[in-house]
């Protein structure tokens, strides 16, 4: 009988031991990267000093001095600080990215389903749409939509006389409508609105529980819509319409006051949505086609209506395939919104990494802040989508 020491192999020499070798490699890599980073930091510091470039974040408090075309949610004037410029850019980026993702999802789904339609014409048109918009550079599409939005619209002076009070107008300065200003008492409408949301949530919990127990369904969706939209409206009417719509006023050149949706936003949004939807449509198509035929056949055999078959059997399974690539499309859309520079939409890249960088020359700080924002947005989006993905993931037994 052999003793234990003979059973274990002799310890390999240092270089033959994968574990030890792994440690050496990693130490080397860390050393090299550390040295590279150190060299970059040192060079940057030396260069900035020798070129007399300022450093530090002190510039954020100094006054910007330039105007920005659209500053939603943030109060901004020329005397505001560069940090306010940063906030304006951030808000504008988030708005266009969020609205863009939502619309691209809807349009992409519609076209993805149209791509599989039994209607020949619709199917061909969906294919044409996808192949056309996927294969043309986005920058070109943005430039195209900008002029396509601007060209056919009339100027404000062709529509309105000076001194007119205008409640709604579409012209080449954008979509302008009267500004809603809440009067005392309007806050109750908000309370009702939030109350209705909570109530709908509770209702859906109750309906699920009841369906589990008795099998009876409850029309949660219609009830929820009714609650969320009609209840605040009733409250609004009951309170005597506590909201004033302050119209825009036509000055000598343009409309003043009111709420303006600038054409740059519309053009950028159109381009981003149309471009991204082409990709999403293909993802949706692939997702739906990935659902096994047996599933559809089984649903049909059970007598499930075609519309229910899609909603209850196909889409939930397709979602598992769709969500991961969908996430990267959302990320792409967010990043692509930086192309706003080309058409003067004041997003983060345009006003902060563009104008502010140019006025202050503090490239390192500004780029660091800008990149941090985009990375954070990416992390947040993929975090959310991962959470959603894990929720809908197949629960395996």
């Amino acid at each position: 009988m052999a003793n234990k020491s003979e059973l274990t192999a002799p310890a390999p020499s240092f270089w033959r031991d994968p574990d030890k070798r792994a440690i050496v490699y990693q130490v080397v890599v860390v050393a090299v990267i550390g040295w590279l980073l150190y060299a970059i930091v040192r060079n940057t510091a030396t260069n900035m000093e020798s070129q007399g470039l300022a450093s530090g974040f002190g510039f954020l408090t100094s006054s910007a001095g330039f105007g920005i075309i659209s500053t939603p949610l943030v109060s901004y004037s020329e005397s505001s600080s560069y940090f306010t410029v940063f906030l304006v850019g951030l808000v504008n980026t988030i708005i266009v990215a969020a609205v863009g993702c939502l619309l691209a999802l809807i349009l992409g789904f519609l076209i993805g389903i149209a791509r599989l339609s039994s209607n020949w014409l619709v199917q061909k048109m969906a294919t044409f749409y996808i192949e056309l918009f996927r294969n043309v550079p986005l920058l070109l599409q943005i430039l195209f939509w900008y002029s396509a939005v601007l060209k056919p619209l009339p100027g404000p002076r062709e529509l309105h006389e000076a001194g007119d009070a205008v409640f709604f107008s579409i012209n080449n300065r954008g979509v302008i409508f009267a500004e809603p200003v809440g009067q005392p008492g309007f806050e109750f409408v908000w309370y009702v609105f939030f109350g209705a949301i909570v109530l709908t949530w509770l209702l859906s919990k109750w309906a699920t529980a009841r369906q589990m127990k008795t099998g009876n369904q409850f029309p949660v969706f219609s009830a929820g819509v009714l609650l969320i939209f009609v209840a605040p409206l009733v409250a609004y009417m009951y309170l005597g319409q506590p909201m004033e719509f302050v119209p825009a006023e036509m000055s000598r050149f343009a409309l003043r006051g009111g709420v303006t949706i600038i054409p740059e936003f519309v053009a950028l949004l159109l381009a981003l949505v149309i471009y991204t939807a082409a990709f999403i449509a293909e993802i949706v198509r692939a997702g739906i086609q990935a659902v096994s035929h047996g599933q559809i056949e089984a649903a049909s055999a059970l007598g499930v209506k075609p519309s229910h078959r899609m909603r209850l059997v196909v889409v939930p399974q397709a979602m598992r395939v769709i969500v991961p690539p969908l996430t990267s499309q959302f990320l792409n859309l967010t990043k692509n919104s930086s192309l706003a520079t080309a058409i003067a939409y004041p997003d983060l890249f345009s006003v902060f990494a563009g104008t502010t960088l140019n006025q202050t020359g503090q490239a390192v700080e500004i780029m660091a802040m800008t990149l941090a924002v985009y990375l954070t947005l990416s992390l947040l989006t993929s975090g959310f989508m991962n959470w959603y993905n894990s929720r809908i993931a197949l629960v395996e037994r």
Binding site: V29, L121, E131, N135, P137, L140, F349, L371, Y374
Partner: protein
């Protein structure tokens, strides 16, 4: 004549010919096809009609502008007379600039040769019956880029540095990656590189003139432009990003925690930021990162940025391929006692890379379209040069900008669409799955 007799129990007895049944609905012909595919049901009929209306609304004006009402001959004056159609004479007057940029006129034959080589190379690689496809692919991937660089940039005198360093690199690559005979060659190459560096160091040789009197004059990169520049950026980006992407994908899946972490951070960093920011950093920040006085060509900086950006996407594509490889393949290779490098090189990567060819092509399409962004850092790619041409006061006609953009759009569309078709063809070929 038919007579029907009713029986007391409710049955019927027919005598004579039965009445003719209505003719079956036609299942062929245009009408039947339209009924089956366009008007099967109220909803579909409405859909079809509105779709048709949309087509009829959009198509005629677009085609009219592009083709039927367009100006095909004449010069700027002809376009000025008829402003309601595209101004194609603008493109034909400038197409050389669109293709070559500001490249020296007497030297444009160099680009012609390269473009033909590229076209033939691609055709040979795509056509499956080409003998020695493998070798051609290797040539296009490794030799062609180097050749293209020297042809485009020109060779007068070559600093020995520029021979020694690539030699050294190639040697290292061979010595580490290849085995047997090639490893020996790798060591020889390394030796040669070191020897050359030694020569430079001792001051014996500084530069050699490989072509003698027939030297190709230098054409500097600010003169490169147009479609050529688009190709340069996209191709060098993809060629550089492929090996880097493979390394990063392997790194990300590595069992060494630090290497895996670093690869992941690198990949997610580049995937999380917009390409505009990358190009911007390449132009503004890169000079700050280098020691004082060291300068880098602007185009080179942009290409480095594009390549790093693309390598992160490439890494994810390759990682998908690595994950798609059956675990048994890894285990089999390990059971045979293959070390990691051989396992990857001989067993896993050949299979994984084949699976991800469609992914690589798609990444390339994305990159190709994204090259238009370099106009933001004042490089004249196809879109940039068209924009610059539009600014010419001699062509200040309303239809000219649209014509220029339409030309760019159509050019890109043709390239990207054919690549996408190829990628889908490969996908279909690889996918011998169970689809219905």
């Amino acid at each position: 004549m038919t007579t029907i007799t009713k029986l007391p129990n409710g049955g019927k007895v027919y005598a004579g010919d039965l009445p003719d049944k209505p003719a079956p609905i036609r299942t062929d012909g245009l009408v039947a096809w339209m009924r089956d595919n366009l008007f099967n049901g109220v909803f579909n009929s409405i859909l079809s009609l509105s779709a048709l209306a949309l087509v009829l609304y959009v198509l005629p004006p677009v085609l009219g502008w592009l083709i039927f009402n367009a100006n095909w001959v004449g010069g700027a004056d002809a376009c000025r007379v008829n402003p309601d159609g595209a101004c194609w004479p603008f493109v034909s007057a400038r197409w050389e600039q669109f293709l070559y940029g500001f490249y020296e006129k007497s030297e444009r034959w160099r680009i012609d040769i390269l473009l033909w080589m590229l076209a033939i190379g691609i055709v040979l690689m795509v056509w499956e019956k080409t003998p020695g496809r493998h070798l051609i692919a290797m040539f296009m991937l490794f030799v062609y880029p180097v050749l293209a660089f020297f042809m485009m940039y020109g060779i007068v005198a070559v600093n020995v540095y520029w021979i020694a360093v690539p030699l050294l690199l190639l040697g290292v690559l061979f010595a580490t990656l290849a085995g047997g005979f090639f490893r020996v060659i790798g060591f020889l190459l390394m030796l040669g590189g070191v020897a050359m560096l030694w020569q430079v160091g001792s001051g014996a040789v500084q530069a050699i003139h490989p072509l003698g009197d027939r030297a190709l004059p230098i054409v500097d990169t600010p003169q490169w432009g147009g479609f050529t520049l688009t190709l340069v950026i996209a191709l060098s980006g993809i060629v550089a990003s492929l090996p880097l992407g493979v390394l990063l994908a392997l790194g990300r899946r590595s069992k060494m925690p630090i290497i895996s972490l670093l690869s992941t951070v690198f990949i997610e960093f580049w995937r999380g930021i917009p390409l505009v920011a990358v190009l911007f950093m390449a132009t503004i920040m890169f000079p700050l990162f280098l020691p004082a006085g060291v300068t880098f060509d602007q185009l080179l900086r942009a290409v480095i940025g594009v390549a790093l950006f693309a390598s992160a996407y490439m890494a994810e594509v390759v990682r998908g391929g690595l994950q798609a490889i059956n675990k048994g393949q890894y285990e089999g290779a390990m059971a045979l006692g293959l070390p990691y490098s051989k396992m990857m090189r001989l067993v896993v990567l050949p299979q994984a890379l084949k699976v991800v060819i469609p992914g690589i092509v798609n990444t390339f399409i994305g990159l190709f379209k994204d090259t238009t962004l370099v106009l933001i850092i004042a490089l004249f790619d196809l879109l940039g040069i068209v924009q610059a041409s539009i600014a010419d006061p001699n062509w200040s006609i309303q239809s000219v900008p649209y014509t220029g953009y339409a030309f760019v759009g159509i050019s890109f569309w043709i390239c990207c669409y054919s690549m996408a078709r190829y990628s889908r063809y490969i996908e279909g070929k690889l996918h011998t799955g169970h689809k219905r």
